[in-house]
Amino acid sequence: MSDLNLVSRRDFLRLTGIVSTGLIFGVNFIESKAVTASNFSPHLFLSFSEKGPIKIVCHRSEMGQGTRTAIVSLIAEELDVDLDQIQIVQAQGDQKFGDQNTDGSKSIRANWTRLRQVGANVRSIFVKAAALHFKCKPSELKTSNGTVFYQKSKIEYGQLLDLASKVSSPANAELKNPSDFKILGKKQLLLDVPDMISGKSIYGMDVRLEGMVYAALKRSPNPFGSLKSFDSKEVRKIPGVLDVFSFEAVAYSINSNAAVCVVGESTHVCFEALKRVKIEWEDAQFHSTDSKGFRAQLDSALEAADQVVSSKGSVSKFKTKDFISKKYFTPFLAHSPMEPLVATARVSSKGCEVWAPVQDPQRIRKAVASFLNIEEEKVTINVTFLGGGFGRKSQPDFVLEAVQAAKKVQRPVKLVWQREDEVKHGFYHAACAQQLTASLIDTKIQTWVHRSVFPTIMTVFNPASTTPASWELGMGATNNLYSVPNKQVLTGVVKSPVRIGWLRAVCNVFHAFAINCFVDEIAQSLRQDPIEYHLSLLKSGDEVGGYSVDRMKTVIKKVRDFSEWNERVSTQKLGFACHHSFGSYVAAVVEAEGTKLEDLKIKKIQLTIDLGQYVNPDTVKAQMEGAAVFAMSAVYYGKIDLHEGAVVQNNFHDYQMVRAHEMPQIEVEIIDNAHPPAGCGEPGVPAVVPALVNAVSRVINKRIYELPLMG
């Protein structure tokens, strides 16, 4: 280590006890991986000790959706312990925990019954143990808040550990009746908040290891480009620079870019040194692509779109003059979580250990093992808090970069992305061109033709893919709920000039945008109320791809009534939209104010969601609020442009986010029913985007066919 680090360490030691919680916690975080001290672990997810909290594992990644509190709530409810008795243990990436891919708004859906069952089974162990203790029948016992009650006596779970370890666990203990829930369905305070707001929670960016060095990359501006040459002579002389070397692009399914890597003694040294590396890049196939050219490609792909992906009745039968046809365009979007991408890796002869904010630790583990050509058992993936994810942290590229660097320098390396790297080297939400055509008799839609073309996410797995997958079109296009006798969805061929990835709600966003704006325009041209017109397109009793039209109608009516739409619609500039995705149903009403884009103000966003049963109503509301803001950013500002094959935008000044002063009032109503739980993190976005656009179109007195508004 250099003097610089020795000095700062000495300075740091003088500070301990006063200001060093960040580091101390950091060390604990790392150390805690080795700690398994527990007296009794009746299940992979649970361990008890005589004193101290009950440790419950969360195997899903926390990126703001409240999953850590929610996952442990499922177990705590049936175990009959209060949340304040629990310490959450974040699982490493390992198949033994079941699916850990935190994606598709499915953490609760996939674990609602499974983890409640774990809690119920373990509770019954304590009941059996208490029956031995009290010499009574289990049926004579009751539990509450981690305590077993027998007549006037009671005993805590923690005092029953010896007996509990001797009784067998039932496979299927009886689950609680939902009417007896004490935690599920009730507002709870999130367990991680106190540490988060004290700066103590350890995100990927905050990992610190003994002997760790830092790294940053300059990646090929063109995502498919390669390195021709680089000159690092001058850079190597910079104090604090330890090494400079290059990475080749790693092909799918890693999809990392070719890059020059600087390893140094601090993040800042690496960032500064990179500015002075002279690099020549090799052009790639999309080197001449710019946004205008790509738009032209998308437009002609739309014209040529002739692959029928779903069909009902005969759309060619109707040769009526009474038809309407509109085209819609939405651009590439970047994820821009507040925490830029980052990963820390240590590679030795024993294997590889990673600390990173990853959504899919099992995929990362496989990818690292395969890259290093070692067994998966030799790879440990420690999941930190994620400072936002939105789909970007599902990709393995940034972890593999850290592993490559750590392997090269044979020291622990934290590889930090700058914001510009995140904006310019994303896996983007696909740009999309659509055309909707409907023919009408009176007010009734007789034919519905939906063309949708966009570069497919499947390019992540097979770069030769050029046609959207059926599951992508199934996000809003082929699973459209309208009752129309003749319907067709078509797609076509598009080559992607960038890497495509999942972004919150994925293809639902652009499909819901086009469909809702189109129907709103039809209603407007027919002088019909948009909500009533939407309802007229939905036929009670219909089911499409597992979605119930009646549940959608209930949600629409609920938002109409609670927003007092009927009372406000003649005097205010209101927009409506609805969408079903990830098993949930959302409808939104937006109030806009102003006369033109320059004085546009979104005053209010009101949302209703039916997601079946849910864990924490306050988290559901928070996710809807967040989705509304996410949608506003996309509608106002979201756009990634290309010039000579490279991304134009840089940072938050030209890839803007909605800020506090632009905030409308957001109100959320949740439908209560007994349906199985559905998605929460994503379904809000697709409904709010078109509701905003429909409201804004009333402000500017003009229909809107392209996003973003301020671009």
């Binding site: 610089l4 003088r14 908040v193 004290s198 960016m205 507040m338 925490e339 803001v629 000044h653 506090a660």
Partner: protein, 157 residues
Amino acid sequence: MEKTSFTLNREQLELSVDKTTPLLWVLRDHLGLTGTKFGCGKGLCGACTVHLNGVAIRSCSVALGSIKDQKITTIEGIGNHPKFQELKRAWIEGNVPQCGYCQPGQLMNATALLTASPDLDKEAVRFGMSGNICRCGTYQRILDAIETVKNKEGNHE
């Protein structure tokens, strides 16, 4: 290397770190205080907000050399600040954070804002907080939490 002295969280400090290093990286990499977050590196997002003599600044855009002999407070050292304590309570009770990454910066900004101007109206608070981006979109809860603290103030009078 020439040393830079300053006060960090009420403790006098002398550092031999390149003076052009942004305070953010001095805190995070050299001192291990990782509660101050890196978001953009250009003073655009507010994730790295700390206090310079009680005023909110973006530590990514302030060089170590420029804070010589000044007082810096980070999220690790703000715990006893009465305004911070009130805000922290409101943040917890309001379930404000989602991913939480921007929240130390949001709280540092809100603490400085309310300490300097306890009587700001709602609109001024909105603009006062507009330098801090939250990609999760927790703004409504942030603004509500700040209003709660302001209203409690009013009740005391």
